[in-house]
Each structure stands twice: as C-alpha cells, then as structure tokens.
C-alpha cells in the first residue's frame, strides 16, 4: 500500500519511529535536569527519573543567592555586546571581501579560518598576563574581546556566503526609480541582508553564552563571572547542603534562552551552521 509520495505504510512507520527515537535522544538530558530541578531536596537521592513531588524551592534559592543573578546579568550583557561587536566588524569585512577587489582578500579569509581552528587554551596564559597589566582582568571587556575575536571567523565567513547571494544591483534599480541612496539601502539591501546577519548573530551569541574556559581563566569575582562558570563553582545556599538542586535549577534557567532561540530561529541557525562548511 502506498500513499501519494510512493512510501509504503511500513516505511512511513519505520521513519516515524526513528524520528521519535531521535527526539527522545535530543531531549533526554534536558528533561532530566528539569526533573532534578523540580524534586524536593529530600527526593534528590531517590534514583528516579521523574519527580514524585514538585517544588520551586531550588529556583527560589538560586535567585536569592547573590552569586547567580549577578552571573546571569554578566552572561546576558557580555554575550549581547560580543555579538553586536562581532557582527558589526564581520559585516564590514565581509562587505569588503564580497564587493571589492583588493590584494589580501584571501589572506584575511585564511587567517580567519586559522583562528577558527585555534585552541583557546594556547592563549589564556598570555591573555591572563596582558589583561592584568591592562586592567582588563575580571571585567566585561576582558571577556567581550576574546569572544568577539574567536567568533569573527564564523561571522565573516557566514556573512560573506550570504552577502554573495545578494543582488546588489537592485539598489541601483531602486535609485533609477527615484529612491534616495539611503532609501534604496534601507528598503532594498537591508531586508536582503537581514537573514544572513541574523544567522551570524545567533551563532556568535551561542558561542559567547556557552564559553567556559575564558570565563574561568579571565574572571575571579561577580564583576564579570558568567553563568557557566558560576554553575560549575556553585557551593550551594548552605555549606552543608549538596548544591545538586541549585545547579539543576540554574542550569534550567540558562537553558531557557537557548530553547527559545532554537524554536524561533531554527532555520537561521541551520543556514548559518552549514553556510561556511558546505558552500565554502
């Protein structure tokens, strides 16, 4: 028996079951940490996947702790500023690479690629020393700079791939039709460039939001310590309680923005991820 697409019912069932397994695979650890964060402290050691009773105590605890809200604020601020900087600089460079002929174009692309493959641990020592001298140690700028730089390759490559697809002559056409240069740019070029810029911005944001090595090497206090670093070094609200519940609750809180982005921008994320690798 076949449907209109030429797939038999068993075949459909097979692929459907496969899809269900993959969805379960992807969501299992997230469901687990969510379940853990909702268990009352007494049930944390019950070795069960699903909670028997629900409580929001752990969430109340992490937000009353002075450490986590500060870290969350640092994470948001640093990731947003790093994203803006990386995308702005990336846009300028990508525009030049796509639209202008100049010697050194390839050199910039190659350098960007080299940085993309670079092990960050190789520079934390020198950065640590430089930042202490320059007063950037344990500041927002001290993290924004490395995040911006390490995501510039991603930003430049993704944007260059997207910019290459834009029919730039359209703005000339708009100007012939009587639009001012600014109007032509805002009405014609910006909407065409927006998807590529969004793709690059999301990938940069996820990098900055995720980073751990720079965060623990270049910060020491609540002034700039980000959420992943705070979660890894959680001591718990009381010295004697195991911080498992707090860690789980904090983990869920930092996962929410990621899930929202995935739901809202999944096409942009996939386009950005594959732009450099497959077409490049």
């Amino acid at each position: 028996m076949t449907d209109g697409t030429g797939h038999s019912r068993t075949e459909r069932l097979f692929w459907g079951a496969g899809s269900a397994v993959v969805v379960a695979y992807a969501l299992l650890p997230v469901a687990w940490i969510l379940a853990l964060s909702l268990k009352p402290a007494a049930d944390l050691g019950d070795n069960r996947f699903f909670p028997r009773a629900f409580t929001l105590d752990h969430y109340a605890a992490v937000f009353h702790d002075p450490q986590f809200p500060a870290a969350l604020w640092n994470s948001v601020g640093i990731a947003v500023l790093a994203t803006l900087a990386a995308v702005l600089l990336g846009m300028l460079a990508a525009y030049a690479i796509v639209r202008l002929e100049f010697p050194g174009r390839r050199l910039i692309l190659a350098a960007a690629l080299a940085i993309a493959m670079f092990p960050p641990v190789s520079i934390i020592g020198p950065l640590f020393n430089m930042w202490r001298t320059l007063g950037l140690y344990d500041t927002w700028a001290g993290l924004i700079l490395p995040y911006m730089t390490f995501t510039l390759p991603l930003s430049i490559w993704t944007l260059a791939v997207f910019f290459r697809e834009i029919p730039w002559d359209l703005d000339k056409a708009a100007r012939v039709d009587g639009a001012t240069p600014l109007q032509a740019f805002v009405r014609v070029i910006v909407p065409l460039a927006a998807p590529g810029v969004a793709s690059a911005a999301i990938l940069v944001f996820l990098f900055a939001w995720n980073d751990f090595l720079f965060a623990i090497s270049l910060t020491s206090t609540n002034a700039a310590r980000t959420a992943p670093a705070a979660i890894a070094f959680f001591t718990g609200s009381s010295r004697f309680a195991q911080p498992t519940g707090s860690i789980a609750a904090a983990s869920v809180v930092v996962t929410v923005p990621v899930i929202l982005m995935v739901l809202l921008f999944q096409r942009r994320i996939v386009a950005g991820l594959t732009a450099g690798a497959v077409k490049g």
């Binding site: 600089l89 300028l92 202008l100 730089t149 490559w157 751990f212 090497s217 739901l263 077409k279």
Partner: protein, 291 residues
C-alpha cells in the same frame, strides 16, 4: 594603478581593519607572546626568579609523563567520540532527509544539544551517572561510581561529547545530502543498484568533501575538549586532557613559563593534525572562497 582602484583598495582595507586588528591583538600577538614566555622560568608566585632558560621548559614538559598521558587521553576521547559521531550523524542525516513525518520536529530537537551550554550538558550527564542522584545505575541494575574510575569515566565523558556534538555533524551531512542531485540516485535505481550499492557507490563518494570538512571541524574541536572533563572529573582518575593540563599549569599553578610551553605544544599538535587532515582529504582551503 588607477586612482579608482587605489581608492577601492583603501576602502577595502579600512573596512577590514577593525576585524584584522582584533584578530592580531587577541590571537596572533598572544601566541607570539606565549612562545616568548615559554623560553623563561617564570612563575607568578615567584616573579623575582624570572630568568631566560631557553628550551628547558619544553624539555621538562616533553620529559614528563603528564604531557604524554594527556595527549593520549585527548586523542582517545577524540577518536572515540568523532568516529561514533560520524556514523550516528549519518543515520540522523538520512533520517531527516527521508522522513516525511516529523522531519521539522527532528531538526528542531537536534538543535537543543547543539545550543545547550556544554557545562550544563556535562552536569546533566554527571548527575545521571551519579550513584546517589542518578537514574542510570537503577535503570541498568548496576552499582558503582562511574566517574571514580578511569575507563568508566572516559565512557561518560565520550558519551557526553557524542550527545552534544552529533547534531552538528548530522546537520552538516544533511546539507551535503541535499546537494546530491535526486536524478543521480534515481538513475542508479533504474540501473538496478540496490539501496546499499546506491549508498556506498553514489552517495558516499559524492559526500566525500562534506565528510572531510565535518570531520576536520569536529576533530579540531574535540582536541580542545575542556568543559566536559573539567565538570565531570576535573582531570582526576587519570582523565586529564591537554587543555586541562594547560589550564592547571597556567591558571591554577600560575606557572607562565611552563604553561606557555604546554600551550605552544598544544598549538603545534593542532596545526600538525589540521595539516594531515587537509592533505588526507585533499581539502583545498586557500582556494576555497565563499560562493
């Protein structure tokens, strides 16, 4: 050179200048600085004893068991995770390529591991395997602390890596699959090739460049593994990786001289590996430009 091209060059360099400056100041300069520091005895706890020692730091690092063990551990985790990811990623990619029902849902859910903070993923799996809080032992009817012994700890670390990064591999491979002309597969089917032959004789050879790029990205990424190991074992039970050793020497023990030698050696290992890959897969990077 005409005035117009000169103006164009100037504009181009002006536009690229901020990005190039950032890359030079935050990566190129620190690498050179690391090379310079690696030639000194320089411990931040005893800054007065700073002295030029030539290649002594390198001899110390290369003569110590810690470095070689970390190199082995890193390669072990890399090979273990990347090889499984390639196979699993291919299965997921084929599933997304073929499935009619729930294809979008599969893609959406696979982006969750990709986007999830590595520290959070590592915590989740650590708690899952923990003998007091976890459900894994109860599920498998086992006892014992997975992260307290070397080889079982490696299992958990590699599992975490595979879970977190297979989606990236799958999405790249899916993009490669969609580039294969359907006519070609159809023609092979008409010529009597069965599903296996179609996969191994048509799909796989056409996917070679994409597989090469995906493996290169993931291998170099796996060689930097830090977050998962730090969260799950802190490098204890003999599970320390190159990045963990570098971090411990530089940041925990504040030994900038010795730590920089470790950092430079890690850099060299990664460059050598990348070069081997590029040759092996015939990936021509300098000639590749975004199209």
């Amino acid at each position: 050179m005409s005035g117009r091209t000169r103006a164009e060059h100037r504009l181009a360099w002006l536009l690229c200048a901020p990005a190039v400056a950032a890359m030079l100041v935050v990566t190129a300069w620190p690498v050179l600085y690391a090379v310079w520091l690696s030639l000194f005895r320089y411990d931040l706890r005893f800054p007065d004893q700073r002295a030029f020692v030539g290649l002594d730091n390198y001899l110390t690092v290369l003569g110590s068991g810690v470095w070689w063990k970390a190199l082995f551990n890193t390669l072990f985790i890399t090979v273990g995770s990347v090889s499984v990811e390639l196979v699993l990623g291919f299965v997921f990619a084929l599933l997304m390529h073929r499935a009619l029902v729930g294809r979008r849902m599969v893609r959406t859910s696979l982006l969750v591991p990709y986007g999830l903070i590595t520290v959070v993923a590592a915590m989740s799996w650590r708690f899952a395997f923990d003998p007091t809080t976890g459900f894994v032992n109860a599920l498998l009817g086992l006892q014992g602390a997975w992260l307290a012994e070397r080889w079982t700890a490696f299992c958990v670390i590699i599992l975490t890596e595979i879970w977190k990064t297979t989606p990236f591999m799958a999405l790249l491979l899916l993009a490669g699959l969609t580039l294969i002309p359907a006519d070609l597969i159809h023609a092979a089917r008409v010529d009597g090739a069965n599903a296996r032959q179609r996969f191994f004789r048509v799909t796989l050879p056409l996917m070679r460049p994409v597989i090469g790029v995906a493996l290169l990205f993931r291998t170099l990424d796996a060689m930097r593994i830090f977050d998962t190991v730090f969260v799950q074992t802190r490098g204890a039970q003999g599970t320390g990786t190159l990045s963990i050793v570098g971090y411990n020497t530089l940041v925990t023990r504040l030994n900038l001289g010795l730590g920089s030698a470790v950092a430079v050696l890690i850099f060299v290992v990664v460059v050598v590996l990348a070069a081997l890959y590029l040759r092996g897969f015939g990936i021509e990077l300098s000639g590749r430009e975004p199209r």
